[in-house]
Symmetry: C3
Subunit: 414 residues, 3 copies
């Protein structure tokens, strides 16, 4: 009964571990960017959404994603599988559980500092039970005899999920954001500034850890074609090097300060962009994908700011916009012989994939959010947002906050 464990499974296992460690990367990145009164909340929320997303996906979503297909639209549910019959066996399940955790955690950063923990966890359940599994089925379900989902069958290319993971996470985040509204005071004079983080050291470390994990995120799918791995890892290294490098060059030449948020958004955007086609691109083309992905992510982040959509982690810009570019841009940049159709036909297929995943994930998450709001509040009360979620949601004080509170109290007494 136990599955075999040879070289392919060892690759899956190593890759899954790297995807797992991305949870620590996201956790550090987010906890460093938010104000410290919310930082403990954010860090703990990353543990909670891991419990929920992995638990729900194993318990229910896995069958929807990879069970026997129902017309290419979704798979048959398999409840809490003890074993798994398919390439990679339980090792593949481990990889997929880690993948789903990554998709779920993208939402976390965008809605941070004002969402109710309970609401967030319920929305994560919807993502892990329905939204991610269905989209994964469309693009990735199938076996040695060929793809089973409708997107896979028409030739949609999204190797490790520029659209299926990152785009989907971003559109879910956007759906919640639009109903949630910006952080209190975000767009008023003297309000929350976008550039002050509680502790950006955590964020810089988080970006490095994310990048570290991304090598497994992209390489794991090659467990049956390991000869692709060297190219995949080089591309996963060079795309953000090029994307981040060009941003730093632009900051230098334009005499700007080296704004931390731009650098982080550029790095993540480059990584997201290269994810769809890391197995096909030549390294130089991966640099181009990375540079454009970084630029678009930064432009989109500023555009969202102008539109007063408050996304503290730039999740929509870096995962969504750069994900669209990665999924479409590959039509232009992969070698012609890597495609089974013309570049224009491929662009049509890719666009269809991007649009259908957007429509499905955005609409489903919007409906779920609206349903929750009809029942319970989505936001924490105003006083909790002012006090900070560390205390309001976790009863967790920090010494720094204690000091500030006492100092304020002392000042008032005088």
């Amino acid at each position: 009964m136990p599955a075999a464990f040879g070289f392919p499974e060892a690759i899956l296992f190593g890759a899954s571990l790297l995807v797992f460690v991305m949870q620590a990367g996201f956790c550090a990145l987010e906890a460093g960017v938010v104000r410290s009164k919310n930082a403990i909340h954010v860090a703990v929320k990353n543990l909670l959404d891991l419990f929920v997303s992995v638990g729900i996906f194993w318990g229910f979503g896995l069958g929807i994603a990879y069970g026997a297909t129902c017309g290419g639209l979704f798979g048959e549910p398999v409840l809490m599988p003890n074993d798994w019959d398919g390439p990679g066996g339980l090792s593949f399940v481990f990889y997929q559980l880690a993948f789903c955790g990554a998709a779920a955690t993208i939402v976390s950063g965008a809605v941070t500092e004002r969402i109710q923990t309970r609401a967030y966890l319920v929305l994560t359940m919807v993502l892990a039970a329905v939204i991610y599994p269905v989209a994964a089925h469309w693009a990735w379900a199938g076996d040695a005899s060929g793809p089973a989902g409708w997107l896979g069958r028409i030739g949609f290319i999204d190797y490790s999920g520029s659209t299926i993971i990152h785009g989907l996470g971003a559109w879910c985040a956007l759906a919640v954001l639009l109903q949630l509204g910006p952080r209190r005071g975000r767009y008023e004079a003297g309000g929350v500034e976008s550039t002050t983080g509680g502790n950006l050291i955590f964020s810089a470390l988080g970006v490095l850890v994310l990048w570290f994990g991304w090598f497994g995120f992209n390489a794991g799918n090659a467990f049956l074609t390991p000869e692709l791995i060297p190219k995949i890892v080089i591309n996963t290294l060079l795309a953000p090097v090029a994307g981040g490098g060009v941003v730093v060059l632009w900051q230098t030449l334009s005499g700007r300060v080296f704004r931390v948020r731009e650098i982080m958004t550029a790095t993540v955007g480059s990584l997201v962009a290269v994810t769809a086609s890391c197995h096909l691109l030549e390294p130089r083309a991966a640099c181009v994908i990375g540079i454009v992905g970084a630029a678009l992510a930064i432009i989109a982040a500023y555009a969202l700011e102008r539109m007063r959509i408050d996304d503290p982690l730039d999740a929509v810009a870096a995962h969504g916009v750069a994900g669209v570019w990665g999924t479409l841009g590959l039509c232009l940049l992969v070698p012609a012989d890597a495609l089974t159709m013309t570049r224009w036909e491929q662009l049509g297929v890719q666009s269809l994939g991007v649009l259908s995943v957007f429509a499905f994930s955005f609409c489903t998450m919007s409906a779920a959010t609206a349903a929750w709001r009809a029942w319970r509040p989505l936001r924490v009360p105003a006083h909790a947002e002012i006090q900070g979620l560390n205390i309001a949601e976790h009863g967790a004080r920090s010494e720094f906050w204690d000091l500030v509170t006492r100092a304020r109290g002392a000042a008032t007494c005088r």
Copy 2:
């Protein structure tokens, strides 16, 4: 002379690295929970106990654990081995050195914020030279021809050490705790609160890193039976997902805040509980083991608090109590055909193992602690505890502390 390095050794190497990185996880977890005046001390102590435990175990303990057996009780000492003759060779030694480091570091969290560094390091030596090696010999010594230790011979099951590592570490911690006493002011009004950590972001990251390392901790023993690895890793993922998930559900339904310490203790408790039988359990049964382990760890933590046993990291609850559950509960939850005896007989064997390891480790560490106290103080002086161990033991000031001290000085001057 150099050992071969093939697939089994590569598994051992990867697993050992993951166990090594658990040191960083423990370090972050502890440093985040303690008050910041002790945080640097705690972080550095984790480096020091790594030097001491690995050095002593390599220099002396390894032979006691895995040398030729003396009646099933302990092995023949081998001083500072340059090479190792046995399955896995030097790669196995690397794995075992990392294991011993993990056992030693469990004690660290419980006794933190008031123990003398010198005393702690000497007690760590006792653990690494005698306590862990003897217990490891009992359960794990042996070769292809069968187990050599007396516990192994009677059929004791403890795959990666719910009892031999985690239980043992916890009982050693308890032995020291009882003689050390609680932190100053811990059980007085206005004293140390259990829920205030200096920086719980570190702790949340630490839990994620610990979990990440635990995959190697549990999987490394399968280096000669890699077909077990998929099941082991799935169980190591799902047990804390279930355990943590149920705790979060309980917190939600009961309207409590999401208390960080409960979540962390539950996660670690689930991981400890699944460690003994991760190679035998079906995934659903692993969830049950995890849920009960998490619940018992939280209950035990509150019970110890009531008994005024001050364990800042819940080491005794999460590693000890959950470890007992993991070691005994497997009799109930593994498939019947995985046992070589009836469930009741297995329960007898498991209980004997738990009790004998408890008696041996608790008594030996109590005696060692008493011996040290007869010679030198175990606790830091009161003024050092008030000032914080960063300065008292390391001369290390932090800017935050400087600010507070100066502010206090300024207030006094007026």
Copy 3:
């Protein structure tokens, strides 16, 4: 066209990932040691130098290092290679890119808290384009038919770069340091103290992560001779255990406080020292290499302090001086049959290697620094150094700094 991916490439891939994660280790180590007003700057700088060093080395330096040799002095440039023809193929390129990133980041710590980011990035380019590639060519270029560089041909032994990476990084750091000068107020009463770090928890974690990565740093070169790996990893574990352990013993016996900086410098120094000969040493000899390396690193750190060379991270002491010891000391400590010449002849070869790498790297970097200074300032202006580089170079405020600034403002107003 895609390279094969078998066991050797998997080793290279795993090792490269570990080297990559050393970036996170260096980042945390440095960010914790500096004053918090510069900590964000330091963390981000580690991302920037990764972009620059990897980008430049891939774009230009790789051919200089491993292209067809021009008289053993340097290789033929290969611009932005899409593929690589040689043992390990693209996987070897990935490993080398990570290596170059490590060499570059050593400089970062020494010059921190006062260098212009722009100047630093340009100097990093020189390191990645010329200095590291040429030295790597001398010692490591070649193929199955034998070494190609002049140092390799005469029998120079430096397995993973005690001299070629760590020494070289340290000498480049020294060259910049001498023209840069100490931090403002460093050698005045009441100025910057060497022992106050903004947040030494990060530093302790950083040391653990560095050590974790070092296993891959040392083991990756054995991808075609994996039977060496068990010995390499044991030595990489035991050298710092012995070196750090002896320092702690000395601190204990002499009644000193456990000074954090000494412990960290000793750990890194031991790791640097064992790097040159980790594949040849018996474990006991590795302990000796580690102990002497740790001692020399600490002595050198205090000596540099006396000479008023302000190196906040002890990079010159731990990477340079310990690197010299590691490169020379192996003549004494490796088994005689591991050498192809007498110990005295080997010492001559090793000394020649150490001196020539020192001369080349120190002179080239001194010239580059002088050239920059002739054009633009090397240091940030005095007001930026006082204000902190977080704000001056990144516009990044932290809440702690905000609080202090406001408190100061309030005090002035009264």
